[in-house]
């Protein structure tokens, strides 16, 4: 018949940050490995293919790090002054970097040799990028211009000088080799097409100096950051603003895609990196760093997160591998291991049975099978047998009492329903009584359980009021009383505060009303009445209706 229904344990949702799939995912990053450089980290670029080398430009050098060993793989120091915006080609063989003297320098990663120098900019070049066809280079310079260079011939193809301030941000399209985007301190973001040399195709106003721009892999949307705002623009609709998100409280400096283009990461001077969902632009997680973040790099497999900071620190964080997780939490891993072992044993058994089964029942024979019984907890087992004292004892063990008070309260609730609380509480010795009393004292202030705890406390007092108690129990009863008194005191205070707030609110509303009446007196407006003709018209309609 109807199986025994489990005791309902009422657990209320916890207030605070919700644990979502994203928080779990990003929380798995290990403790960072930090490397100290001499100047602020201007730019970090990640090689798009394995082994995902990381190019870091800071001060007068560009360093290529190995993301696994955190060692410097190569470093390029042939810069007179600061080097900026080193970026690796998609095949991982070449690296390009701008510098203070206005040159763009191309190096071979394998041989460390300087292959090309693109000269033509009059100001420092802060960002430079390879186009998708790998044979062109786009550079974004402080001389307010954006230039496209031919790689083999080392010549300038086009130069756009539309900006009115430093161009400090830029990116290229991942689909077309002709499209690239520039962001400037003059608040604008411009989209250029190399096939139309007359000027920019789209120009949008970001509202504050643009620090970084990014084009989605689909090439239909681009994102710009600058100031404390992130703006999302629709490229196909000619630069329509899709979203404005402001989650940082200081300037946002860098922008990166993560999780296969499903998440967007921004880092800012407020020392946070925020991770957004690219559909809703809701923040799903926040990473904290010790100093203002200037640049971010995330490997395509999300395994390494690199952040460059203003004080010259590079922080490299790895995703936890399973072996590491096991080493960190040996107890839990042991449990998992055990489980897998038992599972294996049962599997073995099952195999054994199926192999050795020679008896095949006839179709008209009903074979009795063992029914799967659901797991029944100990307290339910005792409740089922009407052993109320034992059921209460099982939920008063220190572990349940302290870690899962909802279970204890749930069983107490069930005992009240079954009218068995009195018999469960009566006739207890000193130690079990003290465990009940400490539980009550600890939880009587909890508003989610208070009504049941108070009921239990009343019953307990009723039972033990006339019996002689040991000094220890007496002390606990007094402690309980103290808790109750304190709670009463709190409630009194709260009600006083509430009363004060009521007075304040009432006075503000009357004031507001008074001011609004003044406003009405200031400009008298007479409500207009329908004219006789209009009224007649209305009546006519009524007759119809």
């Amino acid at each position: 018949m109807a199986s025994f229904k489990k005791t309902q344990i009422r657990s209320l949702p916890k207030i605070g940050q919700k644990v979502t799939a994203d928080t779990l995912y990003w929380r798995k990053l290990n403790f960072p490995v930090t490397v100290k450089e001499f100047g602020p980290i201007d730019y970090i670029d990640v090689m798009p293919i394995e082994p995902y080398f990381i190019a870091v430009s800071s001060a007068a050098k560009v360093q290529i790090y190995n993301p696994i060993t955190h060692q410097v793989h190569r470093h390029f120091t042939r810069f007179k002054e600061a080097a900026y915006g080193a970026s690796i080609r998609s095949d991982g063989k070449l690296v390009i970097a701008g510098c203070d003297e206005g040159h763009v320098k191309l190096f071979d990663i394998g041989s460390k040799s300087l292959l090309r120098i693109f000269k033509g900019h009059k100001g420092p070049v802060h960002r430079c990028k390879f186009t998708t066809d790998n044979v062109h280079v786009v550079s974004f310079s402080d001389d307010k211009s954006v230039a496209l260079w031919d790689l083999p011939s080392e010549t300038e193809i086009i130069k756009f000088s539309e900006h009115s301030d430093y161009v400090r941000a830029g990116c290229v399209s991942s689909i077309s080799s002709d499209l690239f985007l520039s962001g400037s301190f003059d608040h604008t973001v411009k989209l250029y097409d190399a096939r139309s040399p007359t000027g920019s195709t789209i120009s949008v106003d970001h509202g504050s100096p643009v620090e970084s721009v990014l084009m989605y892999p689909s090439n239909s949307i681009f994102v710009s950051v600058g100031g404390t705002e992130l703006r999302v623009w629709d490229m196909l609709a000619g630069g329509r603003l899709l979203a404005r998100v402001s989650q940082h409280h200081k300037t946002i400096t860098c922008l990166h895609l993560a999780s296969d283009g499903k998440r967007l990461v921004t880092g800012g001077l407020d020392r946070h990196a925020k991770i957004y969902d690219v559909q809703s632009y809701q923040v799903v997680h926040t990473l904290d760093f010790p100093s203002p973040v200037l640049s971010l790099g995330i490997t395509p497999d999300d395994f390494t997160v690199v952040a460059g900071m203003a004080n010259g620190l590079i922080s490299m964080q790895h995703r936890q591998t399973q072996a590491e997780a096991r080493a960190l939490n040996p107890k839990q891993s042991l449990k998992v291991q055990k489980k897998s072992q038992t599972a294996y044993r049962f599997r073995l058994n099952a195999d054994f049975r199926s192999v050795n089964r020679t008896f095949n029942p006839a179709t008209d024979v009903e074979v009795a099978t063992k029914t799967d019984t659901n797991f029944v907890s100990r307290y339910d087992m005792f409740l089922r047998k009407f052993q109320y004292s034992k059921a209460l004892d099982t939920v008063l063990t220190p572990y349940i009492r302290k870690k899962k008070p909802a279970i204890t309260v749930g069983v107490m609730h069930e005992l009240i329903r079954r009218n068995g609380l009195k018999s469960a509480l009566a006739g207890r010795d000193d130690s079990s009584l003290s465990s009940i009393l400490t539980f009550l004292a600890r939880n009587i202030n909890d508003p989610s359980h208070a009504n049941i705890i108070i009921q239990v406390a009343n019953t307990l007092l009723e039972i033990y009021e006339s019996s002689s108690l040991t000094p220890q129990s007496e002390k606990l009863f007094l402690q309980l009383q103290e808790h109750v008194n304190r709670e009463v005191e709190y409630v009194k205070h709260l009600m006083e505060i509430e009363g004060m707030l009521h007075i304040l609110l009432a006075s503000t509303t009357t004031q507001a009303r008074r001011s609004s009446t003044y406003a009405v007196q200031g400009s008298p407006v007479k409500p207009m009445l329908p004219s006789a003709a209009a009224a007649a018209n209305a009546t006519m309609i009524f007759n119809v209706g």
Partner: protein, 830 residues
């Protein structure tokens, strides 16, 4: 203000009442199947079950009904198998009928003649043409006399003053000499008679009252159960005056039934613990079958010893196989046990079927209480149970010997207008401990799974008992549904569905939006206008009208003539949408919410109004009085269109207008689209219906609504995916309770300064079309018959148009006139 005040009559006028073709009939199919113990046929293939005046023959294998035998005119009091395929039945008037079990035909009818007695209590058939019948005792009430009736001798009285329950009489055969032994129970003693040998014995024990008795089929062994839960096995009780007894004591509550297995090896016993105990005779071993759902009334063993049937108080018969498992059940409509354990101050309407009858627009069924913590859905068209749903999801607790342990009870149910949402309020209270629990649960209907899924569970929605729940009607599909609850903690609360969807999952839950109160008065009744634009809450004698979206108090209505607290309140439907009918202890009256005046009042009713139910398909309303009088009236006037006089002694509990699948061809207007269903305190269903359609067995012709959720079959592929119909669909009517047609355009015209207006010729046609009544396929329901003449003589300044009352053709012609009228205006302006 008062238009027609103080019309004091003793009860509403009965001038118009024509009772000739309207009958009140009991729904037989809804009666219980566990009043009499069921009987197995000799081959154990069928089981015969008496339910009211009917007898059902069910297959044991499938628990399906095979035949329904309907010849008796009174309740059946006993069944017996005469031969291999002959069933003998007897009703309370003493008529016995022999039936052929195989084809369900009547073989023989014969009245029982016992010394001119017309009433019989129970009927037994020991065989050989002898019949045992119990008749009312001459001197003591609630006791019976037992007679033996034979075909060739005069009826003989065996015992006087025995208990009248069916299981207080047992008979058996003395194997030694083949004589018939009959035993019967008195309160504190067992009386034994050996018919053939004429031996009389009376055995007494201590002060415990006997409850049931059974005799072993082969040996001369008797088993008795008593109210302390003890079972006694008596050996050799015919001859010895102090027989040897064995005590089997496990039950703590009275034993309701004992039964020997047909081989005589085992003894089955059951009681209110909901546990069937299987004792092995002569040994201390026993087996239990716990949590059988509800208390056991009868246990019957099949002759082939494979199957045991138990009758339960939740109107179910369950079959237990030889492995001590329930494998089948015949489930009828569950009767709600009166709630115990609540305070005694609760009125009776709160203790029996507290939810009343709630119509479910999705399945066209009715929701009401089943056993404690359960809710059932009953199909009134087919008179069958659709499902029984566990709302509380708690173990059903049984009483202890001197202690009533209450269970969670469903007190209120509300169904959203689309039927998608179900709100239930369950209460568990223990007044002795001063503790109570209350849960408001919101269930959503899942069309794929075809069941209700719990969406939100609110603990303690109000601090004190919730008086009423009501969903807001008339909402569009895009609007979030809304529920209003009122409670004795002086508050009314508005619950809304909140969409909490984030990027990880879809989530919707209900939460309290607004909690309000009114002058610290207790809210007692709640009603929404048909279009959902107005919410009325009664606070004692005052009616408050609220705007449900902004929760602004529109008006309060009160009058010196009506100062009793309002108990029931309902808005009129259809063209009586403007009337709000209220019932207090002794008066029934109606407010007009538009003119805000008292329209009529009927004072000094014979007894208080128990139910006030509006008909969803017409403008009529029914008031069911406590003395079971029924008045059907239109809220616009105090004159009833029909009244039903006092029916019987039973007291009505709840009532509901049930829409018909097919409208009636002829009959009174209020019966064309629906019929009135009333439940009395015995939980019998009464139906007020036209005599022409009183045969309720008509089969359902409309398609069943849950067809959509059935799995795909080859035949369903043949059905058209989309059906196009020329018939216009009904769209919920929204009454215009405020504003004038085209008021906005008039307003804008007047407010714009004349210099800024565009040329009149350009805006004229636009302006005129704004003033016209728009009707696409939406607003028109081609319903000609219900043109209400009272609404035409309304003062025009009120400005109300009831588009539904309009005759379609009339409207179009008038509109044509109107457009013609405008034409001259346009021309003159030009």
């Amino acid at each position: 203000m008062v238009k027609m005040a103080n019309k004091k009559t003793r009860g509403p006028d009965k001038t118009q009442a024509n009772t000739s073709d309207i009958v009140v009939k009991k729904l037989d199919d809804a009666t219980d199947i566990v009043r009499q113990p069921p009987v197995f046929t000799n081959d154990s293939k069928y089981i015969c079950i008496a339910s009211g005046r009917q007898i059902g023959i069910y297959s044991v294998e499938s628990a399906e009904k095979v035949h329904s035998l309907e010849e008796h005119t009174f309740d059946v009091i006993g069944l017996a198998i005469k031969d291999d395929n002959i069933l003998l039945s007897c009703d309370a008037s003493g008529e016995t009928i022999e039936w052929n079990i195989n084809n369900g035909t009547t073989l023989k009818k014969a009245p029982l003649v016992v010394a001119g007695i017309k009433e019989f209590h129970s009927f037994h058939y020991p065989g050989n043409g002898k019949v045992l019948v119990a008749t009312p005792s001459t001197y003591t009430t609630n006791m019976s006399s037992l007679w033996i009736v034979d075909s060739h001798t005069r009826p003989r009285k065996l015992f006087a003053d025995i208990k009248s329950t069916p299981h207080s009489i047992a008979f058996g055969c003395n194997q030694g000499n083949g004589s018939l032994v009959v035993v019967a129970l008195q309160d504190h003693s067992v009386v034994v008679k050996d018919i053939t040998n004429g031996v009389d014995k009376k055995h007494m024990t201590d002060q415990r009252k006997f409850t049931c008795v059974a005799l072993h089929s082969e040996k001369l062994i008797m088993a008795t159960g008593d109210i302390s839960g003890r079972i006694l096995i008596w050996h050799d009780f015919v001859h010895k005056s102090r027989p040897v007894k064995t005590v089997y004591h496990w039950h703590t509550l009275p034993v309701n039934s004992v039964c020997f297995s047909s081989e005589g090896e085992y003894l089955y016993s059951g009681g209110s613990e909901k546990v069937m105990v299987k004792w092995r005779l002569g040994m201390s071993r026993k087996q239990f079958l716990p949590r059988m759902g509800s208390s056991i009334k009868y246990i019957v063993n099949a002759p082939d010893n494979i199957c045991v049937a138990t009758s339960h108080s939740d109107n179910a018969i369950r079959f237990i196989d030889s492995t001590n498992k329930i494998n089948r059940a015949i489930i009828g409509l569950v009767k709600h046990d009166p709630i115990r354990g609540f305070a005694d101050t609760e009125p009776i309407k709160e203790s029996v079927m507290p939810t009343g009858l709630v119509f479910d627009p999705r399945s066209h069924g009715i929701f009401f209480n089943a056993q404690a913590g359960f809710l059932q859905l009953f199909d009134p068209q087919k008179n069958s149970l659709i499902f029984n749903m566990d709302v509380a999801n708690r173990n059903v607790l049984t009483d202890e010997r001197n202690l009533v342990i209450g269970n969670a009870e469903v007190l209120r149910v509300a169904v959203s207008p689309t039927g998608e949402w179900l709100a239930t309020l369950e209460v568990w209270s223990n007044m002795s401990a001063g503790y109570h629990d209350m849960n408001l649960k919101f269930w959503r209907y899942d069309a794929v799974q075809a069941n209700y899924e719990l969406n939100t569970d609110v603990t303690m929605p109000h601090q004190d008992r919730v008086t009423a729940l009501c969903f807001q009607p008339g909402l569009l599909g895009t609007e979030m549904p809304c529920l209003v609850s009122i409670g004795r903690d002086l508050k009314f609360k508005i619950w809304r569905l909140v969409d909490d969807t984030d990027i990880y999952r879809q989530k919707e839950s209900w939460s309290c939006d607004v909690a309000g109160d009114f002058r610290k008065l207790t809210p007692s009744a709640l009603s929404f206008s048909e279009d959902g634009s107005l919410m009325a809450i009664a606070f004692q004698d005052t009616v408050t009208l609220w705007d449900p979206t902004s929760i602004n108090l529109n008006t309060t209505l009160s009058h010196t003539l009506v100062q009793e607290p309002i108990e029931l309140m309902e808005f009129g439907r259809d063209n009586c949408f403007r009337y709000l009918v209220c019932a207090s202890k002794s008066a029934l009256y109606a407010w007009d919410v538009i003119s805000q005046g008292l329209v009529w009042k009927v004072g000094q009713l014979h007894s208080s109004v128990r139910c006030l139910v509006p008909d969803p398909k017409s403008c009529y309303m029914a008031a069911v009085l406590q003395n079971s009088e029924v008045f059907v009236f239109s809220p616009s006037s105090s004159k009833p269109v029909h009244s039903v006089p006092k029916m019987n002694s039973s007291e009505p509990i709840a009532a509901l207008f049930v829409p018909r699948p097919n409208p009636l061809a002829s009959g009174p207007e209020w019966l064309i689209n629906s019929r009135l269903l009333i439940v009395d305190d015995q939980q019998e269903f009464l139906c007020v219906d036209d005599v022409s359609s009183a045969g309720f067995n008509q089969k359902l012709t409309t398609p069943i609504s849950h067809m959509d959720s059935l799995p795909w079959t080859p035949f369903s592929a043949m059905k058209a995916e989309k059906q196009i119909s020329a018939a216009k669909q009904l769209v919920p009517v929204v009454h215009q309770t405020s504003g004038i047609q085209g008021y906005k355009s008039v307003q804008s015209l007047l407010e714009t300064s004349a210099s800024a207006l565009p040329p009149m010729s350009r805006i004229c046609s636009l302006f005129m079309s704004d003033l016209m009544i728009k009707h696409g396929p939406k607003a028109v329901t081609a319903k000609v018959n219900s043109v209400d003449r009272t609404s035409t003589d309304l003062p025009l300044s009120n400005g109300h148009i009831d588009s539904k009352t309009q005759d379609f053709s009339e409207e179009t012609t008038l509109q044509k006139l109107l457009t013609l009228d405008c034409q001259w205006l346009v021309e003159t302006v030009k």
